[in-house]
Amino acid sequence: MTALKFTKDHEWLREDGEVFVVGITDHAQTALGDVVFVDLPEVGREVTAGEAIAVVESVKAASDVYAPITGTVTEVNAALTDDPARVNADPTGEGWFFKIQPSAPLPADLLDSEGYNAFLETIA
């Protein structure tokens, strides 16, 4: 399993063959609280890095989830429809959101876990 990369918008991504699996970080799920609904993008959608393509709803509020890379959505985690609490229970595993096949070089500002943790320190 390859190491996770992170965005400053609190998404993680993991390379899996030709695609990247994307979800929200443990920090993000903790900040949101109990997730009650996830609005996922359509498979086949062309997305641009930084574009809001999904919405995660907690009891309290709705938050956007951004495409961390440019490419095509190849799959979404349909299990979240019936069990959105997976996002809280296993944010970097069963709580994944969608997969993107990249069509452009990855953005230069993706963080490794050390960089992301350092970033979290700056916003604490």
């Binding site: 609280g33 109990d34 009650v36 609904f37 907690s58 009891v59």
Partner: protein, 361 residues
């Protein structure tokens, strides 16, 4: 980057931090939106056992002197003069156009009236009431008192009393004298306890030490009141909205509806005679997706209203909302379409409350 505002602390600020409360700005105060248990668990615990809320940001005041009740009636359609000693009542402050300035609780303590108003409106309410007072009636704000709410079906066993729903009386809890009312904002049995600020933390600690009591924040307070169909000023009520539109006609005293002697009586009377153009209703979105405040409500492609409060109801286990719709769309079961982020979401007009009230009547 927004300019940081200076937030006020309630007397329980230290306790909130000790309990791990996540503090957020609300009506000018730093308030706990949740504790480590989270909104869902705090909500469920309130429905199952007992939850303690700090609501010290709310405005407390007393109205003293001969004719205090009649004076309050000059700015409210509530029957205050008919309120018996030891009883509390829900009321509205109205402007001359019949719009709702705020909603409030008033208790008759025998020698004075005790008022609780919304935090976000106290700077408007108190001058409005003041402006209506004749010589001999005095409004005394009580900024040095805290207000705690303990709510849930477990409360009756841990704070036994002869009080029934909407009774108000002095009570001693853990050696601390409090002004208690058997009421709240969750749909559950419970008390709101007014206490001098310097005793608030001792009272809160004593309550938290009682069996089954858990602290709960503003997040759970909001989901509980929404399931209970209770209005939040600024969301569901505002100065453009009348009591009839808000479906709060019941808060207008019968005597007041004979005399029509309150601000905005002409509008209220016309709306009662002819029906208001729009009505506050419950709205149940289909599926799991919540529709938040501000969501447009459509019927057959036409705009018919707006959601004013919406979220996920943990006890309903589904999304719930309240809003205003044109009267023809207000009948229970009417099919509606909510426009959530540009996409249609099917919904129906639904009766309130979403979760049955369980008051100690």
């Amino acid at each position: 980057m927004t300019v940081p505002e200076t937030l006020l602390d309630t007397p329980l600020a230290g306790l909130h931090r000790e309990l791990g409360g996540r503090m957020v700005p609300f009506a000018g105060y730093a308030m706990p939106v949740q504790y480590p248990a989270g909104i869902m668990a705090e909500h469920q615990h309130c429905r199952a056992a007992a939850a303690l809320f700090d609501v010290s940001h709310m405005g407390q005041a007393e109205l003293l002197g001969e004719g205090a009740a009649a004076a309050l009636e000059r700015v409210s359609p509530a029957d205050v003069q008919g309120l018996k000693p030891g009883r509390q009542r829900y009321g509205l402050l109205l402007n001359d156009a019949g719009g709702i300035v705020d909603d409030f609780m008033v208790a008759n303590l025998g020698d004075r009236l005790f008022l609780v108003v919304n935090a976000s409106r106290k700077h408007i309410d108190l001058p409005l009431i003041e402006s209506a007072l004749p010589a001999g009636v005095r409004l005394n704000p009580l900024p040095d008192r805290a207000l705690l709410a303990i709510q849930g079906p477990g409360v009756a066993a841990i704070i036994p009393s002869a009080m029934r729903f909407m009774d108000a009386a002095l009570m001693t809890i853990a050696g601390i004298e409090v002004l208690a009312s058997r009421s709240g904002y969750t749909g559950e049995d419970g008390y709101e306890l007014s206490v001098p600020a310097e005793r608030a933390e001792a009272l809160a600690r004593a309550l938290l030490a009682m069996p089954g009591v858990m602290p709960a924040g503003l997040g759970a307070r909001d989901s509980l009141r929404l399931e209970a169909g209770l209005c939040l000023y600024g969301n569901d009520l505002d100065e453009a909205t009348s009591p009839v539109e808000a479906n709060l006609t019941w808060s207008i005293g019968k005597r007041r509806r004979m005399a029509w002697d309150f601000p905005g009586a002409d509008r209220v009377r016309a709306e009662l005679d002819n029906g208001p153009a729009r009505l506050r209703v419950g709205i149940r979105p289909e599926g799991r997706q919540p529709a938040r405040a501000g969501t447009e409500v459509q019927q057959g492609g036409a705009d018919v209203g707006v959601v004013t409060s919406g979220g996920f109801g943990p006890s309903v286990n589904g999304p719930v909302a309240m809003g205003y719709v044109a009267r023809p769309a207000a009948a229970d079961g009417t099919e509606l379409t909510l426009m959530v982020r540009g996409k249609p979401l099917a919904a129906r007009t639904a009766p309130l409350p979403f979760h049955p009230h369980r008051y100690a009547r």
